[in-house]
Symmetry: D2
Subunit: 422 residues, 4 copies
């Protein structure tokens, strides 16, 4: 039997962390003794627990340590983190440490240093003088970069339950089509007002004045069903009113939205009458072709070709747009980033400052965005298919609140909550 | 090769009936000659076609005739329908004819007689003096009843495309969460206004004055998710305004609705705050118990125990309510019909005059109601799960228009379309 | 601030119970002090915790006590349970205690007495001489019965994690179509072998010899899709081999199964060729009519009318069958219990001794059965629609393991695991 | 009223084409006279119909012609097709004709010329000397290319019902989880044997000897759930036996498959035990990193790093693999084509000769592949979620047969049908 002692600190009882760590050890095939536990007797008091983990083999012990670390368990025998150099461009050392999207520190020369740009499934590149740690994607590593390996000297901070009791409080993130939506939408609207005000303060008074915890950006990640199902007016209004600051989508959402502006249809469905326009796909292709002819989406709006809708509102409100390509695209539109690695880079660049992520009616872009978001960003995933929020959460974005409803009903209710009269 | 000639008459070309009949013959393994066809050259002109069906065996020919008959194919060699007497109570003669839910006539002593109370999967009981034909369920047949058997002397009238181009026009009944809902809801609202006006005329001037085709009743078939998801206020309003005249549901919808009135929760979910009330199921059981103590739902409302909501509105507006029991019920509530055969009977009794069926968020009651509705009744099936409208249509209710959206959004949009200000 | 002290005992740390109780208190709006905690330092040692719960009002305190009790929290100030008499037949006293499906005791004249026939959402009827406690449905209470009210003197035993690590170990009950099924099916098969052996011992040597924890019955709850989708042969084989002892279903499963025996179709689908037999619903109705003519399902099999399939195997193997009616039934078949309250009674009567519940392709019957099962019965819910296992678990049957796959693939894999060569 | 006469020829009655054309005219708001109809009286005889279409405006008439053309209606007043030159690279002339995926001809200098590489939603580029027509994507058009515009001189050949009665016969392509799968899988297996034999002939005797209609390639389009859910062995076997010749997927399928080879897990799920390996995502990332270090997937297999599974079999069998990138990818693997336009090109290049497309457990790649396939290629779409085959069909791939079942059960049944003993 091999033993290692770990320490857990904080509100580990009421946040379930203590229980989860013990559970994880048993699940993985280890056993434990609780060598010491000081339970805070009031809610405010932190608890400190010392747990001796026992396993049959060093490999199993390593596996268990790996599993309990994301819950905040720190190996008692503190050391600096280990590093190895990358053997070639785009390839990490074999035993590199893969990040979670929880706040993380590494110990460099005796000091705990925050890992910047944290995101799940990346590697940590460190520099020593001055001490610095940065989460980087595998594809961007350069030969010779110092990469963190193993588990020692790494500390992860689990999400704690927020004090407020709104929908974003931890452990409420459940998916059900049978729950009332109204209060969730009310909480989202409240947060959107807060962020808009905070952003305003930031723009007027500089970023010092604004509240870092609230953020200054709302990211909207959307799919084309928003246009099909009739949510275009409500979303345009939200953009016009300054509630949305970044738009992530593929080729289809802007194509459908601009088709609606040019032809009054979406993939050939007449949006007012609901009948299929014959061979309506042609409108879709002609729209893309016309915008290609304009040179860019921005020019298509500014030249007056595209007069209204989601994209026109985005252009007018200077919303930061990232359109990522996929192999199912027609055209594509001129601004679509067809290289997926570059598109991921463009998405990452737009994230700092985000205080709320709304993901509506798109599986691919929701999961891709979820991959890049730190766990602390409140996230809402809306889809008529309950499998989409479930999948998002399965892929690691456990903080996402799922709402099972059609996108147009969601956008209308949200806009009404924010005083839309449509 | 055995041959039989059938005749098809009407707008059989543009309603696809001609093509479907030929297709059916081939699918079933037969062949055909078109011995004569007079195609109307203008839309108004009917077409007459005479088709010789050939099959390898009498059994196959019989199978083909059985299959083409619901499309209106009438065996040329006209005869009276055949009948046999029921061998015992509740048991039909072996070769009884099973109805479809399309308008049907049988030939009795040389005359075509309408089958009354037509509904799918029933038998036809005939009387001769005077000639009369009635569709009856298997369970209600009495020993000695004359029951129609075989295929001869039976004529089925396929649904033809209505002249209007609203959502209920034939062949538009498709299910997709990606289509815009707004125009469908607009069409439903229009029909609800029409029926309410027609009902009013009926009540004031007698049934002669009202329009039989439009009907004088809207049936609402609903499940408990209406209450969970926040659609209670909108539905209550629709009832108060006289838009709904019959309510079909199980035990859960009224129990949840009255729980909301008594405790402000639905199965323990706080409807305003969205949090789970602890052990909230207790509210549900206490509600049922209190209403049982009142003796009946009506008394629970009239005594002031239940003050608002769907059921209170129904009681006040004299809506005809049928609550059918199921094995998953708690309690049940005092008015629930626990015998399922009796419950089917109560549902059937409420159907005459129905001009629109709205089925919202319930699979069981939607299919059960669909089983009892003639094909000519416009039917809308709303569910967040696309499988529900698909299933309804698979079970034979092909006339049903599917709407994939959550029930609360549907009810709110519908009520707003009818001038609700909520 | 009002205070009440509760005591928690057992493996409350690693089974997450301690954490959940604290969480529940905070969620409900209360606060707590941990006045004492003795943590067992090894896995075997139980933990004892004393928690002072504080709330702003007696109502809130009551709500919190109600919420923490299902987790095993016992009010320290021990007293006998309170009772009131039922005011009329079928009506419980207002403040009656609603059961969970966890093992429960009530304190009568200073002694803790097991509540027999425990099941969720019932009332507890007590008798004093000798002390006895029985869980009863609301509908069966008689005027004057002594019914437990309030929370005092009631003790609930939370499920603890079983020692084994098979699929039925607590907290593994997750639903995902992306997980491998093979090992789950292996675990189910293993348990079915165990129960068959145990049942054998029971029959040969009397019930003393058999293992109560394993049980002596497998209940199979099934829907008609089993026949449609091609799982009939595998299921018949499982019955023939003695792996299934109770069958719960509605009217459709036996009707489809016997249609397959009589006509080779299921609702008109040719089971071998996959094409729709024309107007195939007729086979369904003719089957029901023929079996009605036989007088009973048993006679239909024994007379040779029905030669093979699920029902024929059940009759031959003396499987206990409960067919519960629903309003969507055709016919129904002669043995169907059309009164839903009586059907619930018949289901309850078949449950003692059950060691495994398999629920396949039926929402209604799965939830209804789940309502009647104690939490300790291992339960598997198989459906192609992930919403079904989720719903079952939402309705309280948290112990159910969900498997998202089509019923025929499940039955074939399960039968192969038990050495079927089909 | 403006009038245009169109001609319909072929088995337009029993293939429903005649009825659909008339229906389409009415739906679009036009009217018609049937100026002449010669109905073949036997199945073999073609029918010729001449229909005068009337509309209120030239725009409406144009819309109607556009709508009836995909059904094979040819404007009587025959002319050559119109063309315009592309105004710039990547931009088509405004009124370009958008293709369907049905066989198409254009009239050039009085002669009907086949459009090569037909696929939905492309443009047609023509050359005159010699006459040649090619379907091209918008992105590849060059300034000055002659592009077909308008509707004149274009002829589309609707799919006719094949003579066989297997699952691929037209109009059987319905999606339901309640249908038996067995015969569909039998039909697929039969076709796979045929194609393998035909390919063999092609390789041995040259392409003249093989049957063009059957094709010489099976394309397999797959998602990672194949590995999760336990279908890896069956699929590897199918590849080893020579039944699959092209593999389309994203980054995840090969990554999961190779993770299974290296670590025995898939995204951290132990494939044999079904438990989550702690922080199992690390295996996924380490796998990708190791393969990146190998330089290519092929080298990873040939060097012995990857020993078994889907990818190893593909490398050994020289299966043509196209891995298309998406923004949700980790890594990605070295062979992934990250540019989506280039990936579409690589997919197109692999299509000639395909006689069967199997799409399993992937929405994105199924739709993308469907976009590039001619309508005449038999296509099967397997997913546990019925929305996926529905979506594929909604996007135009109406020929796809949907199978609602989990991927591992499908692959096992298919392999067993082809004599796998696993």
């Amino acid at each position: 039997m091999i033993t290692e002692t770990v320490i857990l600190k904080g509100h580990i009882i009421d946040s379930l962390i203590f229980a989860k760590v013990l559970d994880t050890i048993l699940q993985a095939g280890g056993t434990f003794d609780i060598s010491k536990i000081d339970v805070g007797t009031r809610r405010e008091d932190p608890t400190i627990a010392k747990i001796s983990i026992r396993a049959k083999s060093p490999a199993l012990l390593e596996k268990i340590l790996q599993a309990v670390q994301p819950h905040g368990a720190v190996v008692e025998r503190i050391s600096d983190c280990h590093t190895m150099t990358a053997p070639q461009d785009g390839v990490l050392p074999d035993s590199f440490y893969a990040t979670s999207h929880l706040s993380t520190q590494v110990r460099l020369k005796g000091k705990w240093v925050d890992v910047e740009a944290i995101e799940m499934d990346l590697a940590i590149r460190v520099r020593f003088d001055p001490p610095q740690a940065l989460a980087i994607p595998m594809a961007t590593v350069k030969k010779g970069d110092c990469i963190v390996t193993g588990r020692g000297g790494i500390q992860v901070f689990p999400l704690e339950r927020p004090k407020g009791r709104d929908v974003f409080s931890f452990m409420e993130a459940q998916v059900s089509s049978e729950r009332p939506h109204q209060h969730i939408i009310t909480d989202i609207a409240k947060r959107m007002r807060l962020i808009r005000a905070n952003r305003h303060k930031d723009l007027i008074q500089g970023s010092e004045a604004s509240n870092k915890n609230i953020g200054t950006k709302v990211i909207f990640v959307g799919g084309p069903a928003i246009v099909h199902s009739g949510g275009r007016d409500a979303l345009s209004w939200l953009i016009d009113e300054g509630f949305i600051h970044v738009l992530f989508s593929g080729n289809a959402l802007p194509a459908h939205d601009m088709e609606a502006s040019l032809f009054g249809t979406s993939l050939g469905f007449g949006l007012s009458a609901g009948h299929i326009a014959p061979h309506g796909h042609e409108h879709h292709l002609h729209t893309i072709n016309k915008v290609r002819g304009s040179g860019s989406i921005k020019q298509a709006v500014e030249s007056g070709l595209i007069k209204d809708g989601i994209i026109a509102s985005c252009v007018r409100q200077n919303v930061d747009m990232v359109f990522a390509g996929s192999i199912r695209d027609d055209g594509p539109l001129p601004d679509v980033v067809t290289d997926t690695v570059k598109a991921q880079g463009a998405m990452r660049a737009a994230l700092p400052g985000v205080g709320l992520a709304l993901m509506v009616a798109t599986t691919l872009h929701s999961i891709a965005t979820g991959n890049c978001l730190p766990a602390k960003v409140p996230t809402v995933c809306v889809d008529i298919n309950p499998a989409v929020p479930t999948k998002l959460s399965d892929r690691g974005s456990f903080q996402a609140v799922g709402l099972v409803m059609d996108s147009s009903s969601f956008l209308k209710e949200l806009a009404r909550e924010l005083d839309w009269s449509g």
